[in-house]
Symmetry: D2
Subunit: 268 residues, 4 copies
């Protein structure tokens, strides 16, 4: 009657591992992404990049806000048959940074609407909070939605704590080669976890990088975009308010993820 090591990728770990909130990778994703790019005050981007990170030399104020309507699953694919465990939406804010001579994408704020996606993101260094995220879906029949063709109009919103944080619109002008440049690079994230002593130190403090594999892209569409950010006592999006719009992109994306790389780990 003595316990052995517990199983499970994340908590709660158990004898079988079945209870863990996030199943072990690989994870597979299929979804629709609306990416809106704009320029903000470069200082507002720079202040979110702790050393040794530094701003991108070119277009240092570029920001992407991405809405994603995902279906995801583990390598057993069982979640797809119980879609409450597979579907979620998220909205995230991405900037670029330099680290050891390379330019990376970096998510600085993000909201998501399911717990498995929240903690899965924490493992990847995404600073996820819960939010209510909505994104117009394209349709193929009927009048209640845009077609994936010039003139198709989309709306996208993000709220948290009963406060509207971001609103955007997008109108397709035509096909596109890509879907933007700000979120197009490998991600550079911090992963940290405060010490239980609550003394200002971190028990975990890492810089990591990651990217998907087996990425499969549907046709991309570009267009005109608008974006507004709103104030909240617990958010700082107005510091990243748009000064100049770049544009918007819509594309279906499939990808898989099976781990990243630790670039720095500060000893405790």
């Amino acid at each position: 009657m003595s316990g052995s090591e517990l199983e499970g990728f994340t908590f709660p770990r158990s004898a079988t591992g079945r209870s863990g909130l996030v199943p072990a990778p690989p994870w597979h994703y299929s979804g629709d992404l609306l990416t809106i790019e704009y320029r903000t005050d470069p200082e507002a981007v720079a202040e979110l990049l702790p050393p040794p990170l530094s701003p991108s030399a070119e277009d240092p104020g570029a920001v992407a806000v991405v809405w994603a309507d995902w279906q995801s699953c583990s390598d057993t694919f069982e979640e797809l048959a119980d879609p409450v465990r597979a579907q979620y939406k998220e909205c995230f804010v991405v900037v670029r940074c330099r680290y050891r001579g390379t330019t990376y994408s970096r998510c600085v704020y993000i909201w998501v609407d399911k717990d498995f996606a929240l903690v899965r993101g924490h493992v990847q260094g995404y600073p996820k909070k819960l939010g209510d995220i909505w994104l117009t879906r394209p349709v193929t029949v009927g009048r209640a939605g845009p077609r994936l063709e010039p003139g198709g109009r989309f709306g996208a919103t993000c709220a948290a704590g009963g406060r509207r944080l971001i609103e955007a619109t997008f109108k397709i002008s035509g096909p596109s080669e890509g879907a933007g440049f700000v979120n197009a690079l490998p991600m550079l994230h911090h992963r940290f976890f405060p010490a239980i002593e609550a003394d200002g130190s971190d028990s975990l403090h890492e810089i990591v990088t990651m990217r998907g594999y087996d990425t499969e892209l549907g046709p991309a569409f570009r267009g005109e975009a608008t974006l507004q950010v709103f104030d909240s006592p617990t958010e700082e999006l107005t510091r990243l308010a748009p000064q100049e719009m770049i544009g918007g992109y819509w594309r279906s994306v499939g990808t898989s993820w099976n781990g990243g790389e630790t670039l720095e780990a500060t000893p405790r």
Copy 2:
């Protein structure tokens, strides 16, 4: 300083009508529907048909359970740009009935996840409650979802009050001419509203019929389906448990609605 008649299709009515929960018709819908048909005890269907309704003579135990992932809007289309006001999911149980020599479809139970869709349904005679509804979405890229082709697998669930009520699976076997027969007829619904006196009488008691117009159908797919119903202190789905599966259908549907017809109205 005296008020005039208030504006608005539904409550709350106001001087401008802007506050009404449901905007005036016409309403437009575009969505994906999974329809699962089976046979239950015909007595269980018959007991849901008050006189002068009677059961369908042919296949009187046939039931359809439909999951719908909708985008809808009013004739201003403004809701499509604020998709929290346009998107909703619902799960509903449909039987057939005879009334004055004609066979109709009839929704006996239904759950939906937005208030505008709840009350809009009440206007149409749908007995809507709130629920959590999930339906696997087909995808075109990546591994996290089925394709609309033979072998594509879907799951669908409905819960309310933190209790799972219905679970189903569907696997595409091939293309289909139609998407089932139980929910294919004009609807025959009761609309009633209890008297404020709470004396057992109704202030409103009508039999109505309705159907959509300008319906646009995408390609349909048929397949094998399973369906389970669970018990709850506030539901009676186990009385309608499947005895024999008929099959399942997936199809994108666009339609519009601009009113129905009152067939009987009981004077107060």
Copy 3:
């Protein structure tokens, strides 16, 4: 194999009545209420009073916004053992009106967070929508809440569709005889239901009145209050913005309800 009349106070009616969203009255309520009273432009109140209603002669711009944190049940009391079916919060806006020589209270806008309370309110003529409602609770131990004593501070918010609609604060200054005058009278409500023909006519159009019975009141507290309303594409609260604060009140209330009275019913 023919159906008989269906049972149930509200839809969905069934052979047993068990499925109905709202059980038959009497209904019992116990809860905590924060009432904030202020004066707005009297024209903004008057425009919400269709003839034959008219504004109150005294203090015609008085408004109460009430947050209620309720537990309620039917006469079986079974909901109290399954509290997802008993607990709900609501926020509502009340004005006064004259009708046939008597002054009444009248709810003009209201948000609630459960479906049974939504439709139960519709039966009573409350124009309920869904919302997210929060109200600070008094505590008796620890530091994380106010005491029911001078200096106790409360916050209250109402949001819908991811938009903050109302925010208020309240600080107890001392005991109070009552809990305000705007929501203190019998209610005068319209109950209406649009015709299925969607032709602008109503199938049901009534003026009703109601009040609780066996009301039991806890000690009341008065204090200073602030209140802000925010804009939304589907709300008109800014038309009712405060011009002058009257004050706030906190009190626990128990009451029961077993029907009201129809004062006018317009024939179809």
Copy 4:
């Protein structure tokens, strides 16, 4: 234009620290707790205790399931005025374990309904998931709730992913000295975080202990309890099913938290 170290107790860290999901401790809590204790198969407890933990020698199958209806805040107390940021409910399963000659309490499963409480718990080693938690509240007026006196009846439920996981009832039989023994000791938790490499290793792997301070207790009540656990594809509560009920306790609790102690930290 170069960034400096970012501020914030948890992610997302920023230049100001205002965006962090969890504010820095101390944290203050006031709430109502229903504790239900029972005995399960001691092997089912033992299998959740990895070495060097071992089961308690006395009553090794004892389990407590606790429902807590909390209000909490940081040391600024600002959350109390915006109660969407202060109120949450949780349901958690506690066992006891031995570690280095001392007996501790240990939370093995827990569900909570707000993101700040979720991640705050992760910092403390609580393996929190999101859930829907309901607990009957005692009332002082009206018929819709129990009084804190013999005969008062309570219900409590926990659901996740639209599945009911735990249901319990409690009936007060009289006053109590304490509120149970299983959750009465300092907590012993693991804190771990998988490596980004997803290679089966942990970047963080600690054993920590903690307890509250300035704890203030209201009067306690004991009584008879029932508890049922249900199956789910992602939970293992049926392994911890009750074999023998011990009893139930209700008490208001106030406490504060300002850090714990790392007992072991496995080097990476």
